[in-house]
């Protein structure tokens, strides 16, 4: 091929990098069947954009289960350990922890007899341990999800398309990225048109 298919000449003559092609669909049914055909075509760098999660689209695209639950489990266990160390360390130990950064004095526990309870009264520590487990698990779920999704993303070439703005309202889009090995500007656009798209648009990066 003489010209790199992932570049096009813009009207100003300067070379623009092509991000990909988007195809607009009107109904869930249309995009669902189109997604299955796109998957069977062998594309890897492609996606379906929809205003709400379409159930069954994971299988139609071929999305594998996320590792997010494991991240949440690890965060939750960290929170639990932190809670135990905090409660037992401050209530039931009397040794110094010297040289913590920013601490003027060594940190030590505060063993203090309260109504005859043992210093290490684990049942009384459970509320705090539980709350820290939940807190860190929730952080893991939210920030883990954002991290895996590469969000926040301050620039996205797709948002330059006025049509694409309906992807958060009432339309469904299939995006095939130019970096996919099977991508060809004309052939891919034709292919998506053949799937019943109401419009097909090239997106510059």
């Amino acid at each position: 091929m003489a010209q790199d298919p992932s570049t096009i000449e813009s009207a100003t003559g300067s070379e623009q990098i092509l991000h990909g092609v988007i195809a607009e669909f009107e109904t869930v049914n249309d995009v669902m069947h189109a997604a299955k055909k796109t998957r069977d075509e062998g594309f890897k760098h492609w996606d379906v954009h929809s205003p709400f999660p379409i159930h069954g689209i994971d299988a139609a695209i071929g999305i594998r289960p996320t590792i997010l639950p494991w991240i949440v489990l690890i965060c939750g266990l960290t929170g639990m350990c932190a809670g135990l160390v905090l409660a037992i360390g401050t209530m039931a130990t009397d040794f110094d922890v010297p040289g913590l950064p920013g601490a003027a004095a060594p940190i030590h526990g505060y063993t203090f007899m309260i109504s005859g309870k043992p210093f290490n009264s684990l049942p009384a520590y459970i509320p705090v341990v539980f709350e820290l487990t939940i807190l860190l698990s929730a952080f893991g779920a939210v920030f883990g999800m954002l991290l895996l999704n590469r969000l926040p993303k301050l620039y996205n070439p797709l948002l330059k398309s006025v049509n694409f703005r309906r992807s958060t309202a009432d339309r469904f889009f299939i995006e095939v990225q130019a970096r996919d090995r099977r991508f060809d500007q004309d052939k891919t656009a034709k292919f998506l048109e053949g799937l019943g798209a109401v419009s097909v648009e090239l997106i510059e990066d």
């Binding site: 869930v28 954009h49 379409i54 997010l68 004095a105 509320p127 709350e131 939210v142 895996l148």
Partner: protein
């Protein structure tokens, strides 16, 4: 083609979705709305100019908030003696208000987390502003213990901060558990609310005509484009958050009840407190949801999305939790009698027949008698009877906390330490002012943020699962087991 039902022709909705027909699911979105009209309706509230009623309500709420700020300034410069708190009633209004507000928040988390896990699809229309209600109620709740500490500039002593005194907070104390429970609850509720809102903020970003609005919505929507790969992880994160928030919300009011139940005081020292407090919290919270939802669906023109069925379901939840509360009230008296404990028996007789019997009577009427009208279907469908029941519960639940705090404290073991409690004008001003704080934020939320979870409500519309399977297509169990259609027949599971 869909027709947009305007507010004028909606005096009686064409479809009555409160009828339970076991052969089909009740419609949750009425008026022939499709994805476009739902988006238009909800974004139209944020994009358009607010109605005059909004400005009047906002001005009122803001002046109450200003009054609250002035009273806090007065409190800080003068001291906690401006309140009616005394010995032995040392907790008074601040703790009553704290328990009242933190309880209100619980309905929001119940709707967003527990009803989500139970696949109650009707939650989608009301979960967004119920969650917003949670956040603002917890803000009001957090304020009161914060200013109650006496020297508020030392409030950071509540947190385990290493310090030159070598002292730590007491981890065996329910008051410290409260700090962690309410702090975690506020943080997780905020995350849950915000994560749920990100796709809708993206909708507002894509619809916004104003440059600053586009920048603000663009920043907070984090570059969301509705990618299916993102939705996949997003839904998993949302499910996990719901699963985490469920035990959390049950724990928060349990821990609040430990503030009382762990003490040795007759009237407080009861094991029924955690479930009783949680049920009461959800009861009071649903009353506030109804108080906000019923006017909002008229003023914001959302009667097709928050339908009569939603309001009726809220009434049913309120009735159910109200019966748990009624049971708890009676079992408290039974246990006081059955215990044979002199002080315990006296505490409860004094509660019902002593000098605060007017508060106890108000509580019983508002929580137990008034809301019983909701057993009748026509009462669950009439705006005035619904609002009457909700207002009863709003007042009754505040008085419940008044009864628990004041009547238990004012008669100590020794008659020599008995005293009556009288709130001062500062006490009452701060209670009223906290409603100003709540409604200021709530009205700002109604104006600038998506009041309905658009992305979620679209998933319960019939258009969202109108998928025709082609003949000869290999069976994929994942596609058929879409979990929002629990009644959909599963025909063939041999593919697995």
């Amino acid at each position: 083609m869909a027709t947009i039902t305007t507010q004028h022709e909606m005096d009686r909705p064409l479809v009555d979705n409160t009828i339970d027909d076991p052969t089909q699911r009740a419609q949750l979105v009425l008026g022939g709305n499709d994805f476009t009209t739902v988006t238009d309706k909800v974004t139209g509230i944020a994009a358009g100019k607010p109605p005059i009623g909004w400005w009047i309500a906002f001005a009122l709420a803001l002046s109450l908030l200003t009054m609250l700020g002035a009273l806090i300034g007065y409190l800080f410069t003068t001291g906690v003696g401006v309140w009616g708190n005394n010995q032995p009633v040392s907790w008074g209004f601040p703790i009553i208000n704290f328990v009242f507000w933190v309880g209100i928040g619980h309905a929001g988390t119940l709707i967003s987390a527990i009803l989500f896990l139970f696949r109650q699809n009707w939650r989608t229309a009301i979960n967004r502003f119920a969650e917003a209600m949670t956040i603002f109620a917890v803000m009001c709740a957090g304020l009161f213990p914060g200013i109650h500490v006496g020297r508020p500039w030392l409030a950071y002593w509540l947190a385990p901060v290493p310090n030159q005194m070598g002292m730590w907070p007491q981890f065996r104390s329910p008051l410290l558990w409260d700090v962690f429970a309410v702090g975690t609850y506020a943080t997780v509720s905020l995350l849950f609310w915000y994560v749920g809102m990100v796709p809708d903020l993206a909708t507002l970003r894509d619809r916004c005509k104003n440059k600053y609005g586009q920048m603000a919505y663009g920043l907070f929507s984090l570059g969301w484009t509705g990618s299916s790969r993102h939705w996949h992880r997003y839904e998993k994160a949302y499910l996990l958050l719901a699963a985490l928030a469920t035990p959390l919300v049950l724990s928060v009011h349990s821990v609040v009840s430990f503030d009382f139940a762990v003490a040795q005081l007759p009237g407080w020292h009861t094991t029924i407190f955690p479930p009783y407090f949680v049920a009461g919290a959800i009861y009071g919270g649903f009353a506030m949801v109804i108080t906000l939802a019923v006017p909002a669906r008229y003023i914001l023109g959302l009667r097709d999305l928050i339908t009569d069925r939603h309001i009726e379901n809220c009434c049913k939840v309120m009735l159910g939790t109200g019966m748990i509360v009624a049971y708890a009230y009676s079992i408290e008296f039974f246990v006081a009698w059955y215990s044979g404990h002199h002080y315990e028996k006296y505490a409860f007789l004094n509660r019902a027949l002593g000098p605060y019997q007017w508060a106890y009577g108000t509580m019983i009427f508002c929580n137990i008698i008034g809301p019983q009208i909701l057993w009748f279907k026509w009462c669950r469908r009439n705006v005035f009877t619904i609002m009457f029941a909700a207002m009863c519960v709003n007042v009754g639940m505040w008085f419940e906390r008044f009864v628990i705090v004041v009547t238990s404290l004012h008669r100590d073991f020794l008659p020599s330490s008995w005293a009556m409690f009288k709130p001062t004008w500062v006490d009452i001003g701060m209670l009223v002012g906290s409603f100003g704080l709540f409604f200021t934020f709530f009205l700002l939320f109604c104006k600038f943020l998506p009041v309905i979870a658009m992305a979620e409500i679209k998933t319960v519309m019939p258009q969202a699962h109108d998928i025709v399977h082609e003949p000869g297509e290999p069976y994929n169990p994942d596609e058929d087991q879409a979990d929002y259609r629990p009644d959909h027949p599963i025909t063939d599971r041999e593919g697995r």
